[in-house]
Symmetry: C2
DNA sequence: ACTGATGTTGACAATCATTATCAATAGACC
DNA sequence: GGTCTATTGATAATGATTGTCAACATCAGT
């Protein structure tokens, strides 16, 4: 059966004490910094377990790193994530749930799951960046710095 | 300035000739198999360029691989992807666009982008799997094989 | 509390996708 | 054709994640 170890508890607590999403590597560093001798492989295993039981959410960062976050809401939900500071807001999305189910069905798909995450700049980071932008409003004549999300 | 090379064209065509999403590695293999001596690094570069100009969509597979697909629709859109055969349907989602914008605004977020993809089993793969399931309906007493998407 | 079976750990090696190097090559323009 | 330089590609380097396996710790049974 599944045994209780201080390692798993340490990971759970460290994750709880983290505001937004964090990588396995970063969480391991944080644990080490706070004096814990936990192994890296164990952190990976613990995070994987938490994610598979629904106690944590996981998502794939744009550069291919797996990120984890303690899940406060028990049910199914999605995230609004600050791409600068990592602040994460959990959001319900009934409309989107219905939409996903419907569009899958319309195309004959079964066992539909979905990935729905919104990225942006939180209010604080927006304010901070606005200041920086004004400070260098001269060099760049080309204003297009946008990306091409799908 | 940007130069035209047969390599970039080869990648574009290979991607066009692919039904669903494909990884850089797989596309490189496919090109080699068809006799092209193109280098792996070049495939990575070409795909990155296509994605950054919006000519291709990219998404991060659950196991952290970057997948690319030639984009038929020019505008913003999303995907319905068969997790078994890779068949991909491009879908417009005005509801979701509005929802994402609204929820971001409600929380003070700016510069909102979003990731919205639906995964499932396409009609064909569903039929194929149904056959396989019936053939082994005895060993497994535990029927829960579901995951915990966020 | 002791003990045995076995789930768990962690140092380390192994994978594997992706990126960085950098000398050789080949477009674009004259 | 000649020059300039963006591009290529073989290869090494990076970095996250997983596999290995002997040592260890948990816990049900006693
Ligand atoms: Mn969550
Ligand atoms: Mn697309
Ligand atoms: Zn922020
Ligand atoms: Zn399919």
């Amino acid at each position: 059966m599944k045994r209780n170890t201080w390692q798993r508890e340490a990971v759970r607590e460290a994750l709880d004490g983290t505001g937004g999403f964090i990588s396995a590597q970063a969480l391991h560093s944080a644990l080490h910094a706070s004096g814990s001798p936990i192994g890296l492989a164990t952190v990976y295993r613990a995070l994987g377990d938490l994610a598979s039981t629904g106690e944590a959410d996981s998502l794939q960062s744009p550069d291919g790193e797996a990120l984890y976050r303690a899940c406060s809401t028990t049910g199914h939900h999605h995230h609004l994530i600050c791409r600068n500071c990592g602040l994460t807001v959990e959001i319900a999305a009934d409309e989107v749930e219905a939409w996903a189910k419907r569009v899958a069905g319309e195309h004959g798909f079964t066992g539909a799951a979905h990935v729905v995450d919104v990225f942006g700049l939180c209010a604080d980071c927006t304010a901070a960046q606005r200041g920086a932008d004004e400070r260098r409003a001269d060099a760049t004549a080309n204003g297009s710095s946008s990306s091409h999300p799908a």
